[in-house]
């Protein structure tokens, strides 16, 4: 069982390196943002597998936190790409 967890962690780490390649290489900003979003999701699965391997449940609180932070970051980047600013100060629209 432990061997299976280690093999899964290894495969996810290879996937992580592929996403890092896209993060560094990506021709446009949107490519990098997509890679960052997928990196957050892959990091969530790495934390889940690590908590299975180590055998503690204290890592599981990080999972919810990481998914929320990844979504907020992706939303802010999408708004920045679309309009060029994150916070609208003009409330009359």
């Amino acid at each position: 069982m432990m061997t299976f967890y280690w093999v899964s962690l290894l495969v996810i780490s290879f996937a992580f390196s592929g996403l890092l390649y896209r993060l560094v290489k990506g021709p446009t900003v949107a490519d990098r943002v997509v890679a960052l979003d997928a990196l957050g999701v892959a990091l969530v699965s790495i934390v889940a597998l690590l908590s299975l391997i180590i055998g503690t449940e204290f890592f599981l609180e990080i999972i919810l936190l990481l998914s929320i932070l990844s979504f907020i970051g992706t939303t802010a980047f999408a708004k920045f790409i679309e309009r060029g600013e994150i916070f609208d100060r003009n409330n009359n629209r």
Partner: protein, 132 residues
């Protein structure tokens, strides 16, 4: 005798739960690998968004489901935060993919050369015609 029977049943239950966990985590790992493959190989921002939102969501949901079942049935620790995390990822990850796709189209990132049709362009021209 009774004690050995109980132990036997317990080990059978553990085996069934382990098989369930192995199936869930294998599916999740395969989908995560497919996500990375799609992000490296696909030619376009929009197709990469497609790969990153759908398969990555299913993969991480399967892995978190396996983790939840492991901690619930094998270690008697029911963790509601994992259920909330699964529901949150199921809701927000496609929304994030849609937001990135829309933002990149609005900022004028070109489509791939192999693109056959572009419905968004027709819709935007129609809306501009209505505004005039």
């Amino acid at each position: 005798m009774r004690n050995s029977l109980r132990e036997e049943r317990f080990s059978i239950e553990t085996t069934i739960v382990n098989i369930l966990i192995i199936i869930l985590i294998s599916v999740g790992v395969i989908f995560s690998a497919v996500t990375a493959l799609g992000l490296v190989r696909l030619p376009d921002v929009y197709t990469r968004t497609h790969a990153a939102s759908k398969s990555s969501t299913l993969g991480v949901m399967c892995i978190l489901g396996g983790t939840f079942i492991h901690f619930w049935l094998l270690e008697d620790h029911f963790n509601p935060q994992l259920v909330i995390a699964i529901a949150f990822l199921f809701i927000t990850s496609p929304v994030a993919g849609h937001l990135i796709g829309r933002a990149s189209y609005m900022s004028g990132i070109p489509l791939a050369e192999e693109t056959v049709r572009d419905d968004m362009k027709i819709a935007i021209e129609k809306k501009k015609g209505e505004q005039k």
